[in-house]
Assembly symmetry: C2
Homo-oligomer: 170 residues x 2
Amino acid sequence: MEDYLEAIFDLDKEKKVVRVKDIAGRLDVKMPTVTSMLKTLSKRGLVHYEKYEYVELTREGSNVGREMRRRHGILFRFLTDILKIDSQVADEEACKMEHTLGEATLDSLTDFMAFVQECPRAGESWLQNFEEYRVHGFKPEKCRGLSKGFTCELKNQLESMEDDLPPRNK
Amino acid sequence: MEDYLEAIFDLDKEKKVVRVKDIAGRLDVKMPTVTSMLKTLSKRGLVHYEKYEYVELTREGSNVGREMRRRHGILFRFLTDILKIDSQVADEEACKMEHTLGEATLDSLTDFMAFVQECPRAGESWLQNFEEYRVHGFKPEKCRGLSKGFTCELKNQLESMEDDLPPRNK
DNA sequence: GATAAAAGTTAGATATTCCTAACAATGAAA
DNA sequence: TTTCATTGTTAGGAATATCTAACTTTTATC
């Protein structure tokens, strides 16, 4: 449902009118699926929908759509700006994550991105080294200071994780 | 399905035998739901299941469970170690994300964590500033170098995002 | 070993979201 | 204005994952 509201929200900005076909194309589903979802959304007061007519979001639907858009943007920027993931892949991943993440996590992520870019000990120039790191591995000459014994500690931890389980809920 | 395999994988390590009741408790579903899922998993060759008997993963099921565990661990560590999210919340979020994220994204994330902790320009001491940042906001005395005109740029970008849409798929 | 509690299963229902095939409305061109 | 392509809808069905209520098996206790 959130996907539909986000798609409609976007299409509403991009085009004059929002059509079933466009929603279907955007979400990669068939038209009947869109029609039935529009009925559901209409029942819940999230869209104005009369058959054969153009689709519009209600105030509430628009709020949900905008929120999804916001989340998508935060995640997309994290994936591209920080993780340096290809923009098409990042878009897909953001789509999948935007529904599940809690507000607190999103806030933390936003703060983290701001911190990385505002705090000069890190920031853009530091982040550029990450790309090199990914391609060429650890470059001590670019990252000196306290490297001894620290290298690869995290990776080892991650690899031996089966025996060192993080706490589970319930 | 992946949730079930992960839960069974974990329980198998924690306890002598894996029981329907324990799986249900772990995943917060009722027992009949577990029974029917076990039938499905059995059909797909992911568990050995005979009714009224204990549950065991097949080789393949075990691989899937371990992979989920691995993903969970990576995400959990990112959320706690880097984003400084409460460990119970982090566990829930990791649960939700572990199914959707692609391998490439997970790899990037792993590399990023290693980079943050290996590269002394950032690393633990830098990360500690993030907590302060979250609580008290920007502290120029801890982060000096190129702060002018840069502060809050990201946040502004994020807030005005409705007019500046990232690329969409399709 | 009989009986009662705990654990597990079956049956049947609900909610979501998707599909295909067939039909209906709209709008553009001849 | 008639016709045809595009667009949209209905009808009916499938897959997934869940639930409650009722029944069965296993296990533990006396």
